[in-house]
Symmetry: C2
């Protein structure tokens, strides 16, 4: 199996967490890191993360994305830089133009058509042109208030409405989050800052909702979002925050999406505050699906961790993205995410049938190593020299039965008898007529113009 090489662009809390997670996994390796922060540039990643390199190649953090986004050096880029499609657009296109697939942590990239249709269409077109996939995922959007709801609804014949709530505790976060989320401010200041739009909030409600609506075939007429103050009735104290009685413990953000009948079909609720337990509020992820005649109540208590959750979703979806159809993909059309404890590369192609037993007379593809990596000629390029030279050919199996990996006897179509290793390859011709290439069509027209004065032959 091939090693999956991952380049990480953006090495903040998410990017460095992703680097740490990959370092602990099998069949996958960090191939490069890019970050513009001068305290990071030039540092060796494993050394910076203070983890054992375990014989993997050194990774020096660079400020130049061109050094890490390179088809010869990496199989996929993780973009962990921004929350918004507009902010990431140029970076995503930079990767795609180099034919490198992308997973983005930007919340809006989970369903970029929601608020950035033009950019989404451009990303999709470029990805298809280059034959690679792009995915936006994370814990939310990406899992709690969209994917998990969709999956649970799969057990329902009919659904009348859905309520999803994610109640978390900001207490573990640092000072920046306390300021952004308005912890400890007065109601008056909250209203001023709402007006000035200087309060951070959850990014992704429209994306989660539109993804669900598309997947469930629900026509929506309106998505309304609200933000309100969570005023505490007691003093609440966290390591980096304090909310005195009567001030803000945090902010509650909600979204209501109405269907064609005018009813609220999706109601998402995300209160973020310090120490909710102090006033008897249990943190957790809560989903209620109002099905036909009963309610489905799903809960995860305490809530799925945000940071670890996003890091894990991104890394665990890498095999799915590498195995996906080209284009802008979403959690709606890729296989189920799951913790991968074994070799990541073995998760790209799951097809258990490919290892099935072959019987005498079956037409199969076999291979033989002509030159091992050690036997390669000295003048071949370095990356070529690391690969064995393999001959692939087809024939009818002579042995009574065999599985891929076995040394077998075959008779080729021309009657030649040979011995080689059975592969899991399909004997069909796998090549196609290729993607439409605009540049070639332009060249074709120019050549016609030159040769025939604008007339085709």
């Amino acid at each position: 199996m091939k090693l999956i090489r991952v380049a990480i662009w953006g090495f903040g809390a998410m990017g460095s967490g992703i680097g740490k997670m990959i370092a602990a996994k099998q069949g996958i390796q960090v191939s490069g890191v890019c970050d513009k922060w001068d305290k990071l540039v030039g540092r060796e990643m494993y050394d910076y993360l203070d983890i054992d390199r375990k014989g993997q190649p050194e990774v020096f953090i660079t400020a130049d994305p061109a050094e890490i986004v390179d088809r010869d050096k990496t199989d996929i880029v993780i973009l962990a830089t921004d929350s918004f499609v507009k902010a990431q657009f140029d970076k995503i296109m930079f990767c795609l133009q180099r034919s490198v697939p992308v997973i983005s942590t930007a919340e809006e990239m989970a369903w970029p058509w929601a608020q950035n249709k033009d950019l989404a269409d451009k990303i999709d077109a470029e990805a298809k042109k280059r034959g690679v996939a792009v995915l936006g995922t994370g814990i939310n959007p990406g899992f709690v208030l969209d994917y998990l709801i969709l999956a649970a609804s799969g057990t329902c014949e009919d659904v009348k409405s859905i309520k999803g709530a994610r109640i978390n505790d900001l207490a573990p976060f640092g000072n920046a989050v306390m300021v952004e989320q308005g912890v400890g401010i007065s109601l008056e200041e909250f209203e001023k800052r709402i007006e000035a739009d200087t309060l951070a909030g959850h990014v992704g409600f429209p994306e989660s909702i539109e993804m669900m609506a598309r997947g469930m075939g629900v026509k929506l007429t309106e998505i309304e979002q609200s933000r309100e103050a969570i005023v505490t009735n007691i003093d609440r104290t966290s390591p980096h925050g304090f909310a005195g009685k009567g001030s803000l413990a945090g902010i509650r953000q909600q979204a209501y999406a109405r269907n064609e009948k005018g009813d609220v079909f999706y109601h998402l609720d995300h209160p973020q505050q310090i120490c909710p337990e102090a006033e008897g509020v249990s943190t957790g992820d809560y989903i209620t699906i109002h099905a036909d005649g009963y309610n489905m109540n799903l809960s995860i208590v305490p809530e799925t961790p945000g940071g670890i959750g996003t890091i894990s979703m991104v890394v665990n979806m890498i095999p799915q993205v590498l195995g996906a159809k080209a284009g802008l993909r979403t959690m709606l059309d890729l296989p189920v995410p799951r913790a991968i404890l074994g070799d990541y590369s073995e998760q790209i192609d799951l097809d258990p049938g490919q290892y099935a037993e072959r019987k005498k007379g079956d037409y199969v593809v076999v291979q033989r190593v002509v030159l091992t990596a050690q036997q390669r000629a000295p003048q071949v390029p370095e990356d070529t020299a690391q690969q064995p030279l393999i001959a692939l050919f087809k024939g009818f199996l002579e042995d009574e039965s065999a599985v891929p990996g076995d040394e077998v006897n075959v008779v080729t179509m021309s009657g030649r008898k040979d011995q080689a290793v059975l592969t899991a390859r399909d004997p069909s011709a796998q090549h196609t007529y290729g993607r439409y290439v605009d540049e070639l069509m332009q060249v074709h027209r120019q050549v016609c113009d030159l040769l025939y004065g604008g007339e085709e032959a």
Copy 2:
């Protein structure tokens, strides 16, 4: 969009529930029903189900599968006949040999490699040969104790072990279930019947476990299953069952799967009894993922309904199976199930990018209706007469911008100007060199033998 036509083979509780569900949905229709029970044969389905036919064609229940499994009449078969791969194998092959995709409700079909590798490989090979997909799904296996666990684990970096429990109440079930599940019998009788193997139990633990292990890359060394009596401490009474104090309220079935270290990695628990609430046991689906440093506790209370759940999973996965790669597929490699409230056919190809705006100069595929269905010549076959005759051609878009469905102006490669309707089709050549066809290869060899006495030209 095309209407999805579904044939239902097996019209018991599951099959008839599936028929009812499809009848209430858009973009999908029952095309045929097969059941061998003489009380059903010849009955009209909508009449038998006592539901409004709403102008859909009548469906007469037949005992002959050949009447309903026909590529010209149906797009997919739902096999709702048995729990075991062996019992369904011939039926599945019957469908595949007619190039019709299959969704099976057989619990063992969720991951048939677990206990029936040879049959699974045969099904996979036949499905690939015919270019169609096969899926086994339901509520469990298919969702509660495998898919849902996998999805939740996707938010975890590392997993130490997993416990899944499905605690349900048999009280709503009839007399047959009471007898099969040993409700009300004594401990002595339980032990006798365990020995004689005349107690029904949950089918599917090995399948759920091996699916999860493959998806998570966990190497298992052993799967152990146990069944024990649930002895009631009080009298319990349900409409069709009675368990006196000291007798069996039901049976608890568990499975333990060990990893290479010898530790139990997956522990599945499925107690089935009448009136568990009578002794303070809450029904529900409970999952605990022991992650690295924290537990993820997911619950669905009360438990996901079994019957509705299986019916819904099967029907809701139809678009995914129609859009899947050929072969024996599983819940591990198909997109997320979800309740579909709109047109089912719109869920087959989700690609939102295909409807993107095209700009002036883009090379596009356009279409024009040459003859409407009404204008078709009287001598064409009936199914052809229902389709319009369409001309498809390619050209460079002349309009500044357009989306599929718009009437547009194009200039073809030969310079011809034309007006037609923009399609979402890809201008690339979509045809391939086709699948390997064993019969053609045999014919080729025979022809060579005849012409050249066994020598190729």
